[in-house]
Chain length 188, copies 4
Amino acid sequence: MSGTTRSRRADAERSLAALLAAAADVFVADGVNAPVRAVAARAGVGVGTIYRHFPTRADLVVAVYRHQVEELAASGAAAAAAAVAPLDDLRRWVHRFTDFLVTKHGLASAVSTDDATSGALHALLVERLVPTCGALLDAAESAGLARPGTDPYQLLRGVGNLCIGAEGDPRYDARRLVDLLLDGLRHP
Amino acid sequence: MSGTTRSRRADAERSLAALLAAAADVFVADGVNAPVRAVAARAGVGVGTIYRHFPTRADLVVAVYRHQVEELAASGAAAAAAAVAPLDDLRRWVHRFTDFLVTKHGLASAVSTDDATSGALHALLVERLVPTCGALLDAAESAGLARPGTDPYQLLRGVGNLCIGAEGDPRYDARRLVDLLLDGLRHP
Amino acid sequence: MSGTTRSRRADAERSLAALLAAAADVFVADGVNAPVRAVAARAGVGVGTIYRHFPTRADLVVAVYRHQVEELAASGAAAAAAAVAPLDDLRRWVHRFTDFLVTKHGLASAVSTDDATSGALHALLVERLVPTCGALLDAAESAGLARPGTDPYQLLRGVGNLCIGAEGDPRYDARRLVDLLLDGLRHP
Amino acid sequence: MSGTTRSRRADAERSLAALLAAAADVFVADGVNAPVRAVAARAGVGVGTIYRHFPTRADLVVAVYRHQVEELAASGAAAAAAAVAPLDDLRRWVHRFTDFLVTKHGLASAVSTDDATSGALHALLVERLVPTCGALLDAAESAGLARPGTDPYQLLRGVGNLCIGAEGDPRYDARRLVDLLLDGLRHP
DNA sequence: GATGAATGAGATTTCATTCAT
DNA sequence: GATGAATGAAATCTCATTCAT
C-alpha cells in the first residue's frame, strides 16, 4: 500500500521534473516566451498536463527557475555573512548571477519587465535576490570599498539588463560590461 | 506641369512626414511593437498606405528613428573631431544616446535584439552609431583617459541595454547606471 | 465474514452519500454545470472515484437529485389521492416544486433542456413528476376549479422555466410569477 | 471617385449584413453560444473578419438581434400611446416578443442570464423592452383591466423564461403558457 | 476499489500582411 | 496612390473523460 503510494508519487515527481527539464530546454532555445504548446510537445505531454501543474504560463516559468534563484540567493547571503573580501564577494556573486542569466535566452529581460507574462518571474527575482545583493553591497560599502548610495534593486536590474541578448551575439560580452559596471562602483 | 509635379511631391512628402510623426507618437505611447493598425489609425490613413511606403513593419520603425539616429551620429562625430575633453565628450554623447532611448518605450531593446521585428533597426543603430562611438572612445583612449581595449559596439549595446525598461519604473535610473559604467571605463 | 461484508457495504454507502452531499453543495454554489473536478475536490476523492460510481456527469447529477424528486412525486400523489381542496393542493405542490428548483443554481433549466448534459435529469423529472402533477391537475379539473385541457408536462415545464435564474436576481420573484400562472389556470 | 467610395461602402455593408445573417442562422441552429468559428465558417470568412467588426462575441450577438429588439420596442411604444384596448395591446405585444424568442435557439435564456457571454444581450433587452412593457402594463392597469403591482422587468423575464427551450419540443407550447400567465394578470 | 495524472479537442482573441476596388 | 476588409496562424487556458498503478 505504502509502496504503491510511494511509487506513484515518485512517478509523479519524476514526470514533473522531466516536464520542468523540457521547459528549461525550450526556454533556452526559444526564450521564456515560448508557447506552452511547444513545451508540451518537447515534454511529450498534452498541454493540459502542464496547466494541471502550473495554472498559468507564468507559474511554469517561475517553477523552472525557482531552484536556481534560491541557490543564488543562499550563496550570496552566505558570502555576505562571512564578508572577508566584500567587494570580491559581490563581484563573484554578480558573476554567478550573470552566468545564470546569459545562458537563458530571454530570461534576463524578465528582471526588467513587469508585464503580465513575466510579472511573476520578476517578482521572484526581486524578492529573493534584492536582499542578498543588498547585503553584499552593504558589506562592501561598510568596508569602504564601494561608493555608498547604490540601490541593490538598481544594481540588479542593471546587471540583468546587461545580460539581455548576450547569448547568440559573439561580439557582445556581458561579463565584461558587468565588470565595467562593478569597477564604476568602486570608491573613486 | 512642373508646378503641379512639385506640389504633388510636396504633398506626398508632407503626408509621409505626418505618417512618421504619428508612428513616433504611437511608439512612444505603446512601444515599438505597437500594432500597425494603431499607427494607421493615429495617422488617419489606411494600413495599406503604410505598407505601401514601408513594405514591412521594421521598415516603418527604422524610418521613424533614422532622423534622430543620423543627428546623433553627426553630433558625436563632430565632438570626436574637436576632441577638447575626450572623456567628457564621450560622456555627453552617451548621455544624449541615453536620453534618446529612455524616452522611447521599447526602443532600447532593439539595440540588442536582432530578430525579425527589430533587425533592421538594430542594423541602423549599429551601422550609424558604432563608428561615432568608436571615434569618441579612441579619442579618450589616446588622451589616456579611458582604459584601452573597449569595443564600441559593446559599449553601445551595454548602454542600450541599461536603458531597457527605464521608463515607467521609478526605482530604476538608467542614467545613473550608465554613469557607473562610464566610470568603470576610466583609467584605473 | 457476513459482518465484514455488511460493514464494507455500509462504508461504501456512507462514502457514496458523502460524495452526493458534496456534489449537492457544489451544485448549489456553482450550478449543475460545475466541473467534475470541483465535486471531487469538495468530496475529498479523486475524479476517478466519481466516474466509477457515475459513468457520466449526467448520472451524477441525477443521483444527486433523485431523492428529492421522489419525495416530491410521493407527496403530490398523496395529496391527489386525498383531494380535499384540489386547486389548493396543486398550488401547494407547485410551490414545493418551485422551492426545490430556485434553491439549486442551474437546476431549473434542466427541466427544459434535453441535451447531452442534462438529458438524464430531464428524463427523471418528467418521468416522476409529470404523473403526479397530472393527478393533481385532474383532481382540480374534476372539481371544476381549473380550466380543462392543460397538459401536466407543459405546466411542469412552465413552472420549471419560471424558476430559471431566480436565484441571484433580487428583482425577479419566481414564486410570484408561478402564482400568476396558476391564477391563469383557474376556471374563467 | 464618389462612385468608387459608394460602391465600396455598399460592398462592406452587404458583406456585413451577410455576416449577420450567417450568424443569425448559426444562432438559430446551435444557439447563441455557438463558437465564433462556426459563424465564420458559415459566413465563409475568417474569424478575424468577425472580430474586426465585433471586438467581442457578445458584440456580435447583440448586433444580430438589435434590429428586431428595436422594432419590438417601437411597436410596443406605439401601441401604448394609442391605448385603445390596453390589455389586448399588451397581449399582442407579448405574443410578438414570444414569437421573437421561440424562434431563436438559446436567445430566450439571455433574458434571464447576466453572465459574461450574454451580459450585453441581457442589457439590450432590458434597456429597450422593459420601458415599453411598462408602458403597456400601465395602460392596462389604468384601465382597470390588469391587477396592479406587476413589475415590467419581472413580466418580461417571466415571458422570456417561458420561451426557453420551446423550439424543438413538440409537447411544449410556450405561447399557451404565456397566455396563461397573462390570464393570471387580469383583474380577479 | 480508489486515485489523480494525462489527454487533447475546442473556445476566445490578436495582428502582420495581402489585395480587390 | 490610397483604402480597409479579409485572412488565418497562433497563443492561452478549460474540462470531460480515460487508464495505469
